[in-house]
Symmetry: C2
Subunit: 149 residues, 2 copies
DNA sequence: TAATGGTGTAAATTTAAAAATTACAGGAGG
DNA sequence: CCTCCTGTAATTTTTAAATTTACACCATTA
């Protein structure tokens, strides 16, 4: 599996909530329209983000708001909230090497050592980008947008 | 999609070819037994590695050998040989955001900028590990193996 | 207090991607 | 010329992701 589209949808939702959360009631239906994903998928994503403390969702009446400073919300945190062991799932390892072959017997250890390092590097990279950066990029692109249309 | 198990199978094969390529005739059938993957899958992997110049495969008579110094074979090169655009496929982006929403209209640009950085970091990390490292890890584990059984 | 418009979640279905299987043409070497 | 191998296309199976359907439950308000 890859870093799922759920993660990109989550980022989309978070930018939306930051931009409109105070003014409008941001419901799963609204986010479903904006992202093009199913509203149940959205609710599942919001539910994960809520459990992690990134957002609050009003039960009953509805509406999501940010619950946390933008600099504390890294891409790593978002991915992890949605899929706790996404990092290890990112690197597939063939499951049935022959235990009779010296290489087959040891390949998992060998791969784990290197993959572990790569995974750590990736986590560092994912931690280096925050929602603050993403929103400032969004503002940059949106201005360009106004300029040309 | 993830960094496919094809990549781990490829690494398995390369270690196998390094260890036995000179002594035995390393066929796709033999690698299929050692890795536990189908021999057609193996042949496809070997074919990709061959095109990249990493190995040679004797046509007709069969048998694979390394064709390149160990230090020049990085994990990045292996993955890329097998799936040229594996990096971009690693990060899923939802495909149908609403063009009527200012966020929907710009989200792809926003995500691409950050994902690009993450992808570059990942490539650097994948380039930092070579087959030489993997084989030296293999020798390390194999010795431990002898010690305890 | 009942209608409305939300959330939360489980279960079933659909869709799409990866891997295995089947099949077969063709080369090298004994 | 027979055997063992490669190369590759086409099909089928398997597995994972995403959507859909369904429904219980909550808050607000008319």
């Amino acid at each position: 599996m890859h870093i799922s589209t759920k993660c990109s949808v989550a980022i989309h939702c978070l930018i939306f909530i930051y931009e409109y959360g105070e003014k409008k009631k941001v419901t799963s239906e609204l986010l479903s329209l904006s992202t093009g994903s199913n509203s149940v998928t959205i609710r599942n994503i919001l539910s994960s983000l809520k459990k992690d403390g990134i957002i609050s969702v009003k039960f009953g009446t509805g509406g999501a708001t940010l619950n946390c400073p933008l600099e504390e919300i890294t891409i790593h945190r978002i991915c992890k909230a949605i899929e706790p062991d996404f990092v290890s799932k990112l690197f597939g390892i063939h499951s049935l090497p022959s235990p009779l072959c010296p290489i087959g017997k040891n390949i998992h250890n060998v791969l784990n050592r290197s993959y572990q390092k790569i995974q750590n590097d990736l986590c560092d990279s994912l931690k280096s980008i925050t929602l603050k950066d993403l929103i400032s990029d969004y503002h940059y692109f949106r201005i360009g947008d106004y300029k040309y249309y």
